[in-house]
């Protein structure tokens, strides 16, 4: 791009103006994804586990400063896990605490999934039926661990939430783990587990933020 104007009247500020150039609209509309945090835990023959009902335990927490350009956060868990006695492993993501525990807390998505029976804001990411070995008489019983027939090691856990945030804001991201307690009731082995987990917190500038389809 060249300027047809002459040197006579163009002063310094205008020179800057003349040097301005333009870029693709597509490039500007979609901001890059910023990886704010990448961490792992339980890669040392340990597990994160709980037999507790919702709101369960705080399985992961990370405080981040959202870049001033970004309006959307992405929270990812990538792990393996198992459950005992047919309990479901329920997971929730929140910003600044579980809303039932902390007034300022909010679920990343307060909605519900299908028929897993998890409360609003929670998702069932792992579950194996604790099959009745009487019905399946003659088959293998006891899973491959000590947690009953539904105790199967291990299965992949992969989920990513998106949540709209104020650009430049600071948040403590939290992923909680709870047991569905549907594996036989109180007093029984209701543990749910995950291990070898990676956690990622990302952000981007997204038109409309994290919005309903």
């Amino acid at each position: 791009m060249t300027a047809t104007s002459t040197r006579k009247w163009i002063v310094a500020p205008t020179v800057s103006l003349c040097l301005a150039f333009w870029m693709s609209l597509a490039a500007q509309a979609q901001g890059p994804i910023h990886r704010l945090s990448a961490q792992f835990k339980n890669f040392d023959v340990t597990e994160t586990t709980t037999p507790s009902a919702v709101p369960g335990i705080n399985a992961y927490t990370k405080t981040v400063l959202v870049p001033s350009t970004d309006n959307t956060l992405y929270i990812t868990i990538s792990a393996v896990g198992d459950t005992h006695k047919g309990n479901a492993g329920w997971f929730s993501c929140n910003l600044d605490g579980d809303p039932t525990l902390v007034p300022i807390g909010a679920y990343c998505n307060p909605g519900s999934g299908g028929h897993a029976g998890a409360p609003a804001g929670w998702l069932s990411l792992e579950k194996h039926f604790n099959y009745d070995f009487v019905t399946y008489n003659g088959g293998i019983t006891g899973g491959d661990g000590g947690g009953g027939n539904g105790d199967m090691h291990d299965n992949s856990i992969q989920y990513q939430w998106c949540v709209s945030v104020v650009p430049g804001s600071m948040h403590t991201v939290q992923i909680r783990l709870a047991s569905s307690l549907t594996g036989g009731g109180a007093g029984l082995n209701n543990n749910v587990f995950f291990e070898a987990a990676h956690f990622y917190v990302d952000s981007s500038s997204t038109r409309g933020g994290c919005s309903k389809f």
């Binding site: 047809t4 002459t6 003349c18 301005a20 150039f21 333009w22 870029m23 979609q30 525990l101 600071m170």
Partner: protein
């Protein structure tokens, strides 16, 4: 440069190759301004190529009579007489134009000249009067679709950016220090230190964030000072986070447990937990039920 290349890389990754190359090509071309209108020919010689040629601009009204005139010469005459910068892409200069009108507004006249082209008009305001046409970018028909202005930090010289560090507008100072850090990296330490003393917290936050993300080597003592003294919890968080893996991380995390901001406190808890020192904070603490060793009989 990284900030220019970042969107370019994004486009390349999605397979859109032409546009970023176009942008870069533009950038290269914009470094050479004010060329002769057509090749090396003098204006009089070019004018001589016209069968008719007359351009006048009086009292804000434009009159033009051109017959078989080089397109670029017409624009240059308008540019000189109306004091409006007009940028054209190289491919347009060889075109020939025949047009005639009298006593129309500058904008209207230029629009008539550019009726077969895409164009962008820049109207600059000065707070005292109506905004005035200051520049026009001209593209061939269809070429202008899908391009938008690029912020100054993408193309301004480093010296210009350094001048912006004293701009009265905090957002301008913040953008300037980010761009300078992006270009100078660790050599921007002096500018970073000055920006970290800025009265506006947004400037300090963005300067510290950019410095930490660009590998600017900030002394631990500077980070400690920020954690202890800065009024912005975001600055304190960034400084604490930057020290997390340093020998001072544990001590500073212990100090930050008493920070007035809950997010800074949370960050301190996270650092200490990672160091094997579980702490307890309502709603965010690790439960003692987590991180259990696997028993021999497997769970």
């Amino acid at each position: 440069m990284k900030r220019v290349l970042r969107p370019v890389a994004l486009l390349l990754s999605t397979g859109i190759v032409a546009l970023p190359l176009f942008v870069l090509a533009q950038q290269m071309q914009t470094t050479t301004v004010f060329p002769p209108a057509v090749g090396q020919a003098s204006p009089s010689a070019v004018k001589g190529a016209c069968r008719k040629a007359a351009v006048s601009f009086e009292n804000g009204r434009l009159s033009l009579q051109a017959e078989d005139c080089p397109f670029d010469w017409v624009l240059e005459e308008i540019s000189k007489k109306a004091h409006v910068a007009i940028m054209t892409s190289a491919g347009l200069r060889s075109q020939v134009l025949s047009i005639q009108f009298e006593n129309v507004s500058l904008e209207e006249g230029i629009r008539r000249v550019l009726k077969d082209h895409d164009s962008f008009f820049f109207l600059g305001g000065d707070k005292r009067s109506l905004s005035r046409l200051k520049a026009v970018w001209v593209y061939s028909n269809g070429e202008g679709t899908g391009v938008v202005p690029v912020p100054q930090e993408f193309w301004a010289s480093t010296k210009e950016l350094e001048g912006k560090l004293k701009d009265p507008e905090p957002k301008v100072r913040a953008s300037a220090i980010e761009a300078i850090i992006d270009r100078k990296r660790d050599k921007a330490r002096a500018e970073v230190f000055n920006a970290l003393k800025d009265a506006n917290s947004e400037v300090r936050i963005r300067a510290l964030s950019a410095a930490l993300n660009s590998g600017v080597d900030l002394p631990t003592q500077s980070l400690v000072d920020l954690l202890v003294h800065d009024k912005s919890p975001k600055v304190r968080f960034l400084s604490l986070d930057a020290m997390a893996d340093s020998p001072e991380g544990e001590t500073m995390a212990e100090y930050a447990l008493n920070d007035p901001d809950p997010h800074v406190q949370n960050a301190a808890h996270e650092i200490l937990e990672r160091l094997g020192r579980p702490t307890s904070t309502p709603g965010t603490s690790q439960s003692p039920e987590t991180n259990q060793p696997k028993p021999d009989d497997r769970n």
